[in-house]
Amino acid sequence: MQLVLSEDQELLAKTAADFAAEHAPVSRVRALRDARDPIGYSRDLWRQMAELGWVGIPFAEQHGGADMGLAELVCVLEALGRGLAPEPFLGCVLLAGRAIQRAGSEAQQAAWLPRIASGDVVAALAYQEAGSRYDPTRIEATAAPRGSGWRLSGQKIQVLDAVGADLLVVAARCGGGIGLFLVASDATGVQVVPQTRIDHRNAALVKLDDVDVSQDAALGSPDAGGALLEEVVDYASVGLTGEMLGSMARAFELTLEHLKSREQFDAPIGSFQALKHRAANVYIEIELCRSAVMAAARAVDAGDAEAAELVSLAKARCSDAALLTANEAVQMFGGVGMTDEYDIGFYLKRARVAQQTFGDAGWHRERWARLRGY
């Protein structure tokens, strides 16, 4: 495992950074929020990203993808994270798309992945429930056999990117295990109710009231989805840490700019040693995050035995560091950092949501210890 960007990756990161700087500054997130945009992201921009080949990065070439991995996705997501871009990578590509890629039949993959990669279809993975907390396999929704198919019932919460999605991948208890089922979002009995969280990203309650699906809706074996869910959530977690890395790096840059320009007591406040030392600590934490995220992405891509541990390492660190960075940023901005008018609050809110998505720091420390056998 080499913790350095290849030349191709450097180019990709540079392209993504330029694109994000031009098309996806944080001001766009504010505009989407203030306009109460129903899906909270730009379909146009999503199509452009698809044209650039980013949406299909992890998928096979025959499915319109680039056949690359998390290392490359992280390059893109980090760049987009700088401006808190809300486009549906997590829900559509890293969760739902990845689940289809990993467990779908050739027919299912051929049916959906090219349309996801092209940006024509947005999919979402509905797994989390009110009682799940952070365990993706604590599921009470049911899939009861009905004829040759299944009847799905239950309620999912905070389903990422579900508002306006065309396709839902639904996790439900089936026999002794968990199954994943492809459900059209306009199927009878499906209700998608938007949820407004502090970051105003796309998320929804998905209510399933006796939704009938046919035999070929099952993604893989209808009771073997538990392990798959864990693997897919790990995959998405690495993507999320990439995004968090970009967000915290940018929040820290904004803080440094403020420290250099804001004057009090006839000196830039960045000249005060107490703030300097705290800024140095934030810097160190971000650097450690970067190493952990790069290692996790490469380990998952390589199918390394240590991959799950490194995912938890990256998610635990980024969760803590993103909040630290944002909290210190607000404190160092002072009063204006508390105002909606300044952008830094957007980073704080997103840091909180990201920390509590796919398991918070405590959850991942617990998981690390379990995986290491103590």
């Binding site: 938007p194 949820q195 105002t339």
Partner: protein, 398 residues
């Protein structure tokens, strides 16, 4: 001591007779508090009646002299009144910056005319006050303020901008620091002015915070004419008055964080943790969270004991010193840590802004957490408080 016992009995009887029954047992909830002022509307006629009766007796400001509308109570008597109100869980009749900040400062620095003009109106809840200290360019470095007041005969003409004026949109008067002399040391040449916000040229716009609330405003002064007799203290000598008032502000903040604030403090940390994480043999199920709950609870207990110790020392005649800075810094930071922990305990339910999928408690708590991030900034940042401790308590050099 016999007198005090008698006073206690009388007080209790009076409270029981005069407090509207609907308020007995309601307790002190700052969100329901009566702030008064010309723009105030009472949510409940009981609250209005209660304010009138208490104001008549001078007990909205129990320890102020009677001639200024206060109750004229001794410290011991004032304590008894507070105890009896607490014991009956009767809410205060009136709260606000008039009682806690400008009132005590007027008593200390005001001339007779000023005291007679302002204090009774504060005690009766007729005038609501706000604070005009900070400016966009003068936050921690308050003394660098630029709002200027030019003397024209018996008036000052005030021009400039204040920020973080709490609830200025609902206030009647503002106490403001203005610059009356441009040269010399920046702490000199500042004057403490009392300004009627109905004066022409005053305009106010609320500031939206990240929590979605707007407790603060920007207040602009555009050639506002203020009579010279509205100077508190001396012209160019306002810094002394300003610092004294900051002392009152800090002790008010310490009181607030010693007791109340937001959804989170209305339910104990251990209860919230048990509800959201479950129990394991009577213990909060997640041992990590449990340990952090324990630490927060123990920190709170030690903090409250320290507040008590300072009060006990004051009662024993020891003068409180700059060490009260620790209440501001520790109280607010503890409150912030508690809110961080609460939101983490709520897990995915700690992320709600509005609408479906979150209940009232969860949404309120999430916004309380966002609001709490400002605790270590407003009223003098934690950095400033630590500077004060280092310099004035520990004697470390500049």
């Amino acid at each position: 001591m016999a007198d005090i016992a008698e006073f206690r009995a009388d007080t209790r009887a009076w409270l029981e007779q005069n407090c509207p029954p609907g308020l007995v047992g309601r307790g002190s909830n700052p969100l329901e508090g009566v702030w008064g002022g010309r723009k105030w509307t009472f949510s409940d006629p009981d609250r209005k009646r209660w304010l009138e009766r208490m104001a008549e007796r001078g007990w909205t400001a129990p320890s102020w002299p009677r001639e200024y509308g206060g109750g004229g109570l001794s410290p011991a008597e004032a304590k008894v009144l507070a105890q009896e109100m607490r014991s009956l869980r009767i809410p205060p009749a009136l709260i606000g910056f008039g009682l806690t900040m400008i009132g005590p400062t007027l008593l200390q620095f005001g001339d007779e005319e000023q005291k007679r003009e302002h204090l009774p109106r504060i005690g009766r809840g007729e005038i609501r006050w706000c604070q005009g200290y900070s400016e966009p360019g003068a936050g921690s470095d308050l003394a660098s303020l630029q709002t200027r007041a030019l003397r024209e005969g018996d008036e000052f003409v005030v021009t400039g901008q204040k920020i973080w004026t709490s609830y200025a949109d609902q206030c009647d008067w503002i106490f403001a620091l203005v610059r009356t002399k441009a040269d010399g040391k920046k702490q000199e040449g500042i004057t403490f002015l009392l300004i009627d916000m109905d004066s022409p040229g005053v305009s106010v716009s609320p500031i939206l915070l990240i929590s979605g609330s707007s407790p603060f405003c920007e207040t602009h002064f555009d050639g506002v004419r203020v009579p010279v007799r509205n100077v508190l203290g001396t012209i160019d000598g306002g810094w002394t008055v300003a610092k004294a008032l900051l002392g009152h502000e800090r002790s008010m903040i310490a009181d607030a964080f010693g007791s109340a604030g937001g959804a989170s403090s209305r339910r104990g940390l251990p209860d919230v943790a048990r509800d959201h994480l479950g129990e394991d043999q009577g213990r909060i199920a997640d041992p990590r969270v449990r340990d952090r709950v324990v630490q927060a609870e123990m920190d709170a207990r030690a903090f409250m004991l320290t507040v008590q110790r300072t009060r006990d020392a004051a009662k024993a005649g020891h003068q409180p010193g700059p060490e009260s800075s620790i209440f501001k810094v520790y109280g607010t930071e503890l409150n912030m840590r508690r809110h961080e922990l609460l939101v983490e305990i709520l897990g995915p339910q700690g992320l709600g802004w509005e609408g479906e999928g979150f209940d009232d408690f969860e949404r309120e708590l999430t916004r309380d957490w966002l609001r709490s991030r400002g605790n270590s900034i407003e009223g003098g940042t934690s950095e400033i408080q630590r500077n004060i401790i280092a310099k004035h308590v520990l004697g470390l050099p500049d």
